[in-house]
Amino acid sequence: MAKGYQLSREKDGTIRLSGQLSLPQVPLFLKEMERIFHEENQASFKIDLTDLEGVDSAGALALAQLEETGKAIIKGMTEEVRRVFELIDRDTIHQPPLHEAEQRTPLFESVGALCIKMAYDFVTLMTFAGELIISLPYCLFHPRSLRWNDIFRNMKRTGVDALPIVGLLSLLIGLIMAFMSSLQLKQLGANIYVASLVGIAIIKELGPMMTAIIVAGRSGSAFAAEIGTMIVNEEVDALTTMGFHPIRFLAIPKIIATAIVVPLLTLYAMMFGILGGLIVGIIGLDITLTTYLRESLRVVDVWDVTTSLIKAFTFALLIAGVGCHRGFQVSGGAEAVGEATTSAVVTSIFLIIVADAAYAVILHYIG
């Protein structure tokens, strides 16, 4: 049907179409008809299709629309053309939509809806936390109910597989911090304090925080996507109908695995962060290995490391909990899974920072 149509005029003004009118020619045909209607300013035109060899549905619809607007009276349809016209149910074209199209919401209404959504989100998060609080002790007192293989698999995915990226980023952060601080401290002749600064920052704040953010990006999102996809594929419904508790079956192994590996990853990140500082100290500041380590140990004690590991444990619970919760919230299709994944990362990072701030205040008063 690529040949195209030809348009000719008869003495009485009738428009005669020949050839074939198909989708690629429809835009040109409509333009040409518009020009004729505009130039000749007549109420209606006769369109003769006797010589038209064929149309596709788009061609037939173009003619049908012209007829409906009253600008054209169609005559001389061949059997071939009529068969295509019969495919079109003109009554249904004008049937009003069952749903109204989505309208842009006014600003205040959007803000209100967002507030309601956040409040609802908080309620569902608390409900989920409540279910976890009930499920966790149950699993701890009934260890046989736990899927240990799943726990080990998640420990590998969340912990072992994250070792290269956590190590590399921590090393670079240690390097950058040491390098930047040395530029200032050198001027005061206080090079040795580079070790203290890097040690305190890495062990008290950056170690747990960086590790948590990396795990949130890698594993929190993966938990949300995995559970979300299972919901879309009705796998969670299948588990429920088989008598499994979805939270115990899917969320608890992930939470336990994350709670075990994140503190260990944090220790690992701390070592690499200090190693980064040490490299700058030895190469750039002429500090010896023993001096650097002694200075680092002088400012950091076991209490600091312990509180950081407790923080890391809290962050782990937040990351895994939020990831699973967002996964369970999925309804719909692929788009909802994408939203849940993004939301899992954003919410986790937000809660990690809030929790870190809370820890900073609490630890300040505890001493």
Binding site: M1, S22, L23, P24, V26, P27, L30, D56, S57, A58, L61, A62, A64, Q65, R83, V84, E86, L87, I88, D89, T92, I93, H94, Q95, P96, P97, L98, H99, E100, A101, E102, G332, G333, A334, E335
Partner: protein, 248 residues
């Protein structure tokens, strides 16, 4: 009658795993051609070669005059607009309404005036008995409705060939018959060539003019012909087992 599709000595494989060997057949323009066979016999793989998702390394696949193995990517992309595909799950884009899904290929290919585009989209939805559903999202539809909406999108560009991957899989008999009806109406009205991958016997006997039967063990075609002939006259046990099974 001219041929719309020519497949010659095609060997289909995933790496070393050979799925089909030496497959040859021809599809005539305007006919409904069924590719049948049990699960895992290579039906869907063959379809992917026909729609140009896989390029043949051994053998030839010529669709509407274009040799899929020889053509460059741009030619294949332009060529794909000549055919529509109805995927097993409908293949609708979840973040778009039905109207947007159907308008997508039209907007991409042509500059149609907006009122006509709306008119055309509504007409296509009407053709598949989904009038009024233009603002619905795919997630709001049942399985059968998704397939019908997928069909509306597949016929958006008035393609010369329509490919169907298991169009009635997972549908109840009533909805399946609605799909048969639609396929038949479009074939008769627009003379569209149709290639249907299926193991639905009811569909084959009601609609197909010609059928080939693939076999997983032989890795190729074990029977070809008109469905009724294959059912009545074959002596091959595998063909008998497929065509004479009770589907009540």
């Amino acid at each position: 009658m001219e041929e719309a599709i020519i497949v010659e000595n095609l060997t289909a494989a995933y790496g070393d795993n050979v799925i089909l060997t030496d497959v040859s057949f021809r599809v005539l323009r305007g006919e409904i051609f069924a590719i049948a066979g049990g699960s895992g016999c290579g039906k869907s793989t063959l379809l992917k070669y026909l729609i140009g998702l896989y390029r043949p390394e051994v053998g030839r696949v010529i669709v509407e005059g274009v040799d899929i193995a020889q053509a460059d990517d741009d030619t294949i992309n332009a060529h794909r607009r000549k055919f529509g595909v109805l995927f097993q799950s409908g293949g609708l884009i979840g973040s778009m309404t039905l109207a947007e899904n159907i308008a997508l290929p039209l907007k991409e290919t042509l500059h149609l005036p907006s009122p006509f585009l709306t008119y055309l989209v509504r007409a296509k939805l009407g053709m598949v008995n989904l009038a009024g559903y233009e603002n619905h999202y795919p997630a709001e539809l049942s399985g059968g409705m998704k397939k019908r909406a997928g069909l509306a999108r597949a016929i958006a560009l008035d393609p010369a060939i329509l490919f169907f991957d298991e169009p009635t899989a997972g549908l109840d008999p009533v909805t399946s018959r609605e799909i048969y009806e639609l396929i038949s109406i479009i074939n008769r009205g627009m003379k569209t060539t149709m290639v249907i991958v299926t193991h639905d016997l009811d569909l084959i006997f009601r609609l197909a003019h010609e059928v080939i039967l693939l076999d997983g063990e032989k890795k190729g075609i074990i029977a070809r012909g008109k469905p009724e002939e294959l059912k009545s006259f074959t002596r091959d046990r595998r063909v008998q087992a497929f065509f004479q099974r009770d589907t009540r």
